[in-house]
């Protein structure tokens, strides 16, 4: 049985940064990149299932969509216990949104036929929380979002999952497999990947695929496959505020002044 774990290489911003010339994203020179924290929990969930099963019964496959810079992210995942890594390189990636990314993930899932697809609940940089759900929709598989507990014996037809709701409530669901689950932070304690393990993971091959290899047409990838497009990323102007002090009469006078100012 396989577990597919799609992972993302996320950016974190410096205190001071500049935007890209086209104004649609941050200049990557001002970012530090790392494996998405939510995905670390999803990966750990998969590796724990693997470790609880007999040797060789479960294979954990990690997948990312992106340029070869993202190989570091996959190596880290391999060092943390994934068995195999796939990267789908989409030349038109810049304009891909969650749905376009999900199309590629779904194709890989169709090819790999995993028992579970475990995604992070969201990415720490954009936070849409849509990729996993889109994958499930494209595959037509059962899906549960923001899972905080998972009981699953490899090979069985169902998994039991729990979600945390408002007011301390817990919702327990049974879900048929194959299914797509998005994993919440705190479900476990992700292990540390020592640098030695990451270096040794360098020896493992990363399978690199083009969208065409997966049977994706040009209209399904990148901007063409997306349902949304980023128009602009910007820092909004700070709002102005002023504490009006003085006697009620003085305050009223100042308020009037401001109203007139704003009315122009």
């Amino acid at each position: 049985m396989k577990i597919l774990v799609p992972v993302k290489r996320v950016a974190s911003l410096d205190d001071e940064f500049e935007l890209r010339d086209d104004g649609r994203d941050v200049d990557p020179d001002f970012c530090e990149f790392d494996l998405n924290e939510f995905d670390e929990y999803a990966l750990e969930t998969a590796v724990l299932i693997k470790e609880s099963a007999p040797e060789g019964a479960v294979e954990v496959v990690v997948l990312t969509i992106g340029p070869d810079d993202a190989d570091d992210t996959l190596r880290k995942a391999l060092a943390k216990g994934a068995d195999r890594a796939i990267r789908v390189d989409d030349a038109d990636l810049g304009d891909a949104d969650r749905v376009a990314i999900a199309r590629a993930i779904a194709k890989v899932a169709e090819r790999e036929e995993p028992g579970l697809v475990l995604c992070g609940a969201q990415s720490s940089d954009f936070g849409h929380a849509q990729t996993g759900m889109s994958v499930a929709a494209l595959l037509g598989w059962p899906r549960v979002a923001v899972v905080s507990r998972l009981d699953y014996a490899p090979g069985t037809a169902t998994a039991t999952v729990e979600r945390e709701l408002e007011g301390g409530l817990v919702e327990r669901l049974e879900v048929e497999t194959p299914a797509v689950l998005t994993i919440q932070l705190g479900i476990n304690t992700p292990r540390y990947a020592s640098l030695r393990a990451i270096k040794q993971a360098n020896a493992k091959a990363i399978e690199s695929l083009a969208p065409a290899d997966l049977g994706l047409s040009a209209g399904e990838t990148g901007g063409a496959g997306a349902l949304s497009r980023v128009r602009r990323v910007y820092v909004p102007e700070r709002g102005k505020s002023e504490m009006i002090e003085g006697t009620p009469a003085q305050q009223a006078a100042r308020l009037l002044e401001i109203i007139e100012e704003v009315q122009g």
Partner: protein
């Protein structure tokens, strides 16, 4: 010397006098058996040591130097006298007593069993015999005096360090009890004491027995203690005949006990006679400041199983005499953490003895595969290993050359590889891997502390500099330490030094990453810095951070970077000596100086900082524990990144209270950004904030260099209010 009328050849001791043949045969049979049991024991122990991995290559060229050093240390008892002078001296009594008595017995064997029968050479009589007796009487007296003192010490003085209670176990644990060691200690002392005392009794009994022979009786005062015993025996009414019977009984008791002792040497604590010396001989002179280079391509790293442990540590485990100096010196132990360096070494000893040191060996492969770390009986608990600050206090004071520090580090390497660590530590290592600093700040922010300077520091990556200043993480990012960095920069600038920094190009030197046990990340950081430095032109490196200083100086050469590295305090001392900086005024402070482990104990940088303090005019009062006995601030070994668990006192608070004991203290001078962080905090949490302040040495000097009249008061003004 010899009374007239007695032939010198008569003045001797006839061995086995009046023994029948069967007695003689019985004795030799027992002696040969004892030596065989001893020999087999040596074989078993050597087999055990050889099951370890060969360690770092032992240079035969150094052998002569090492032998000489070992001989000197043993002869002078220098290591044994440290911090416990009386015990060391009394041990010397036992040591020299035992050695002389051993040489004496060996001389008799040489004469009686080898030279006499084979070559007909006989020398054990006459004047030589009398002097021999005198010397051995003194040796025996010293031997007994030393043993008696040790019994008095164990039974009456009971120093806390000889209490073997394990901080890493609770009484419910199967391996909590140290009762066997206590029994062994006493059995060891009693056995030796009985051998010594019966020797004198035997000597006296023989004199009374042979009182009619002038060759014996007239020369008896050459064995003064034997003669006193003889007088006593006669006084209580022993006749020659009675004394003869007593002599026969004592002879067998003494002989059998002594031979039994010899036979048991390899199986008991008596083996330290050999193992302590061997351990010292094999000791790595750089064990404190240079950790072994890990092979990242091996199938695992560090010590996971007993089979991973290098032979040197197996020998050291047997060298330990449980003297407790390491236990006493350990800051983690003092603060209530579940670590005693003594138990670290004894745990290894117990596992090695149980699995590799059996008389009938167990299958070696299985024994070697025994895990070392875990929660089972006999295993190192992760909490214990994580308590260590890698401050080196244990290793530095050990009188038999046990190297706890690298051993703990090698065990940690496996835990890191397995991901067995505190989540805070895991986050920090993750951050260092990502950003190259432990503050999880962007690389770009590293040089931001320079912005407030009225001048621009050279970029050593772009232009040649005389002095390359390796700033380090804390000095770059920690707001308190940034002030110190700016003070240091101003001093160098004012002195006209041609210096530069690496700006964004610097990453953490990795000293503490390595001490945590993340060897792979350390090597990556070091290789990165070596590559950056190889693109720069400079003649020397200076750093204010003792941790960076240590690894750059001692560990970077393994990774291709050999530099002349100085700590800021030594460099400032140079500038003072050369007259390039000169104090404009004398400070009227009472200060004390806290030696940072990485500068002091690890690199013997004790004097330069004190000379800089002296140059400021401040009055230096030493802390009770200073120089090699300095007490860690608690930050080392990566512990600065791990919060102290509830229920433990902070190591730093112990140190802050120690400083607070100094009367009229104005300033606790530190010399390391991490000590600054820990101790400034501890001064606040111990309620001493109003009593004295914490300053870096650089700041103290900067204050003395300023010709400013309106110098800030040493203590915050409110402290003087009622």
């Amino acid at each position: 010397m010899i009374p007239s009328g007695i032939a010198p050849t008569e003045v001797t001791r006839i061995l086995f006098q009046d023994f029948s043949l069967w007695m003689l045969l019985l004795f030799y049979a027992y002696a040969i058996t004892a030596i065989a049991v001893f020999g087999f024991g040596v074989y078993v122990q050597v087999r055990k040591y050889r099951s370890g991995r060969p360690g770092a290559a032992f240079s035969w060229r150094q052998l002569a130097t090492r032998l000489a050093d070992t001989a000197k240390v043993i002869a002078s008892h220098r290591a044994l006298r440290r911090r416990d002078a009386r015990t060391g001296r009394l041990h010397a009594f036992i040591f020299y007593g035992f050695t002389l008595l051993f040489i004496g017995t060996a001389t008799i064997t040489l004469q009686e069993d080898i030279l006499g029968p084979l070559l007909g050479v006989n020398f054990w009589h006459g004047q030589f015999y009398l002097i021999f007796k005198l010397v051995l009487n003194f040796a025996g007296a010293g031997f007994i005096a030393g043993l008696t003192y040790m019994m008095y010490r164990r039974g009456w003085l009971r120093p806390p360090k000889l209490d073997y209670t394990r901080p890493d176990r609770t009484p419910e644990d199967a391996d909590f009890s140290r009762e066997r060691y206590r029994i062994e200690d006493w059995a060891f002392l009693w056995t030796l004491l009985l051998i010594g005392v019966t020797g004198f009794l035997l000597s006296g009994a023989r004199m009374v027995w042979l009182q009619s022979e002038p060759a014996v009786w007239e020369t008896r005062w050459w064995a003064p203690i034997g003669a006193l015993v003889a007088a006593g025996l006669k006084g209580v009414g022993f006749t020659s005949e009675g004394a003869g019977a007593l002599r026969m009984g004592l002879w067998w008791f003494h002989g059998v006990l002594a031979l039994t002792f010899v036979a048991l040497i390899p199986y008991t604590k008596a083996k330290h006679i050999v193992t302590a010396a061997t351990s010292w001989l094999l000791k790595d002179p750089n064990a404190l400041n240079h950790l072994p280079l890990g092979d990242l391509d091996a199938d695992h790293i560090g010590y996971r199983t007993l089979g991973d442990v290098s032979s040197r540590y197996l020998v050291q485990a047997d060298a330990c005499t449980k003297c407790g100096r390491c236990h006493e010196a350990c800051p983690a132990r003092a603060a209530g953490y579940p670590l005693s360096p003594r138990d670290v070494i004894l745990t290894l000893r117990e596992q090695a003895n149980a699995l590799l040191g059996e008389v009938l060996p167990k299958p070696r492969a299985a024994a070697c595969a025994t895990p070392l770390i875990g929660l089972a009986t006999g295993e190192y608990r992760p909490d214990t290993l994580w308590s260590c600050r890698q401050c080196g206090a244990c290793t530095e004071i050990c009188p038999v050359g046990v190297e706890h520090l690298p051993l703990i580090n090698l065990l940690r390497r496996d835990m890191v590889d397995q991901g067995e660590m505190d989540s805070a530590l895991q986050r920090t290592l993750g951050a260092i891997g990502k950003t190259g600093n432990c503050f999880n700040e962007s690389r770009r922010k590293r040089p931001q502390w320079t912005r407030d300077l009225p001048f621009k520091i050279k970029d050593a990556r772009k232009e040649p500099v005389e002095v390359l200043w390796f700033v380090g993480d804390y000095a770059s990012f920690d707001p308190r330490s940034q002030k110190v960095s700016r003070a240091f920069a101003r001093i160098l600038h004012a002195a006209g030094i041609d210096f530069g920094i690496l700006y964004e190009g610097e990453t953490t030197a990795g000293n503490d990453v390595r001490r945590v046990g993340e060897e792979g990340l350390f090597q990556q950081l070091a290789e990165g810095n070596v590559e950056t430095l190889s693109g720069c032109t400079f003649s020397r490196i200076v750093t204010t951070d003792p941790h960076s200083f240590n690894t750059l100086k001692n560990e970077y050469p393994d990774l291709g970077g050999s530099y002349q590295v100085s700590h800021a305090s030594a460099y400032l001392k140079e500038l003072l000596d050369a007259g390039r900086i000169a104090p404009a005024r004398q400070l009227d402070f009472t200060v004390t100086y806290h030696d940072p482990c990485h500068l002091g104990r690890l690199n013997k940088g004790y004097d330069a900082p004190r000379e800089v303090v002296a140059a400021t005019g401040a009055k230096l009062v030493e802390l009770p524990r200073s120089r090699d006995n300095s007490f860690c601030c608690g930050a080392g070994g990566g512990r600065v990144w791990v919060p102290d668990p509830p229920g433990t006192s902070k190591v730093s608070e112990i140190r802050a209270r120690e400083a607070a004991e100094i009367e009229g203290l104005d300033v606790l001078v530190v010399n390391c950004p991490k000590c600054m962080t820990m101790l400034e905090d501890a001064v606040k949490t111990t309620g001493n904030e109003r009593n004295f302040r914490v300053m870096e040495l650089t700041e103290l000097l900067a204050e003395a260099l300023e010709a400013d009249e309106a110098a800030p008061a040493p203590v915050p003004a409110e402290a003087h209010e009622p």
